[in-house]
């Protein structure tokens, strides 16, 4: 299957061996979108690779920016002001809403609904992208985070609009769930399909909603305390079966938690500067050393590992992409299921090929 297939979420290829319609072997083939991101970043300055991180996982550019900025901040010893920390949480959670709602839309596309859930998801996505565009100047490639803070301070109007959107979001989720969650075909096609045990998931290094769907309580927002997440009151939803249906429910529940975080963030947003005065964007030369910045992205642990030799370019630049690592157990999840199920299982893993191949 693939690399040109409507359900492979981009240019992804699976070599599937079948017995009748049952999968007996599945070999994923990557590399159709290998764009040399890591090598390009090693030959450009720290600031210049910021736009490339947007194009890694092109549904969640804001969290990619943040994870990269975290790594550079560790390397350069920068501290981020409180207001910028809150703004980062706001952007990350809005991104999570975009990513998860799109994923659910795509998942239903893979299940065979022609278009409707995706239409609903993209309707909400457009509203959030309007906010991103007003702030960063771009819809998808939001180049907003900087080392030591954020690029611009949102206006009170922006904050009011964002707050109104977030307050309305649960209504969209209710509508979405009414349409999808109890759907008979959906239940028949996803419950018990693509089971992943907690032990397997931990052994393979799987993170994010897929790990939590298998019942493992591991969320970097709680474990690592990145940003100001410890200041927010939210729950980490957990699944019990580790099947496709649980992975779907994880996304819906996480969106509801994101709304809670956002509401708290808008309530508590402090005044103050948004950039560390020590931060220097142009001619930034950190001391020799290494740093690993990681973050609970919408897809799982997104990490950037940087080695500096004191020059304006990173000596070594490496991304830990959640999509690729979550994809490693695709064969185990698909074995014994039909080829139509493999499409749904792949959809529930939530891959973005820009991040898989880099």
């Amino acid at each position: 299957m693939g690399p040109q297939h409507p359900s492979t979420h981009g240019v992804f290829r699976m070599i599937v061996t079948l017995d009748g319609e049952r999968i007996v072997k599945l070999k994923p083939v990557f590399g159709y979108l290998h764009r040399n991101h890591e090598k390009i970043a090693e030959s450009t300055s720290y600031l210049a690779s910021m736009p490339y991180t947007d194009r890694l996982d092109y549904l969640c550019s804001m969290t990619n920016n943040w994870a990269y900025a975290l790594a550079v901040e560790k390397l350069g010893g920068l501290t981020v002001p409180d207001r910028a920390q809150y703004l980062r949480v706001i952007m990350a959670e809005l991104t999570r809403l975009v990513n998860h709602s799109c994923l659910v839309g795509f998942l239903f596309n893979d299940l065979g609904t022609s278009f409707t859930p995706l239409l609903y998801a993209f309707r909400e996505r457009e509203k959030i992208l309007d906010l991103f565009e007003a702030l960063s100047g771009s819809r998808m490639m939001c180049n907003y985070q900087r080392f030591g803070g954020c690029r611009v301070d949102p206006s009170p109007e922006w904050l009011a609009a964002a707050k109104a959107l977030v307050d309305n979001f649960p209504r969209f989720l209710d509508e979405y769930e009414t349409m999808l969650t109890g759907n008979e075909i959906m239940l028949a096609r996803t419950q018990g399909v693509g089971r992943l045990s907690a032990a397997d998931a931990i052994n393979a290094g799987i993170t994010g909603p897929i790990l939590r769907a298998s019942g493992v309580d591991y969320d970097l927002r709680k474990v690592d305390g990145t940003g100001f997440y410890p200041r927010f009151d939210f729950r980490v939803p957990l699944g019990a079966h580790g099947d496709t249906y649980d992975r779907y429910m994880m996304r819906i529940l996480e969106m509801r938690e994101s709304v809670k975080i956002l509401q708290q963030a808008f309530r508590d947003l402090p005044a103050g500067p948004i950039m560390d005065p020590k931060a220097k964007l142009r001619g930034f030369r950190p001391k020799a050393g290494e740093a690993y910045g990681r973050l609970e992205g919408p897809k799982g642990e997104l990490g950037f590992y940087l080695v500096s030799d004191g020059s304006p370019n990173p000596y070594r630049y490496r991304v830990r992409p959640p999509s690729l690592i979550n994809l490693t157990l695709l064969e185990d999840m698909c074995l014994g299921h039909t080829i139509a199920d493999s499409v749904v299982i792949l959809g529930s893993i939530d891959i973005v090929l820009g991040e898989v191949d880099r």
């Binding site: 040109q4 981009g10 979108l33 290998h34 764009r35 995706l118 993209f122 996505r125 457009e126």
Partner: protein
Amino acid sequence: MSDAEREDLRRHGILLTSLEELYNWGRSNSIWPLQFGLACCAIEMIAAATARFDIARFGAEIFRPSPRQADLMIVSGTVTKKMAPLVVRLWNQMPEPKYCIAMGACAISGGPFKQGYNVLKGIDRFIPVDIYIPGCPPRPEALLHGLTQLQEKIKAERLAGPDTARHLRPENPGEFPIPDYGAHDLQPPNNPALFSPPSLPRKP
């Protein structure tokens, strides 16, 4: 008959037209694009199909999963050297008349990833491109603008005479050579009928 007279008749409900105009009108307003995304631009292509932008207004909403049913290829995203042969194969499988839109900086020239060893510096080295849409990624409105420009192009095509449309002239190929993986690069690295690298004059 002058255009003014024809317009006058049209206002009275009498439509005078040529076969060519009718044919082009029908085709330009029912373009079937190939459901085929490569990277970031593909998300904006999907966004163009959804409610806010609604590509259906231009009669081009039927994204076909099979190239054999499509007449427009939107090359949306970065074409790598691993993917390029497959893009050309898909293009060859599309029936004539067919059109190609290069959407975004990567499809046009390699874009921000141009310096990468694995990124094709423009899909127009292997297949003929009708419309180029700049941007990284272009907004859905830009894609719609590109689509309307393509419609204008189709409407201006001639069915006969010296400036006959490309697909009606037998000497023009509909199929293009599929590049193969060579030792260092694709073989051939470009289609000489479509693109040849500029010669670099060297000082003696």
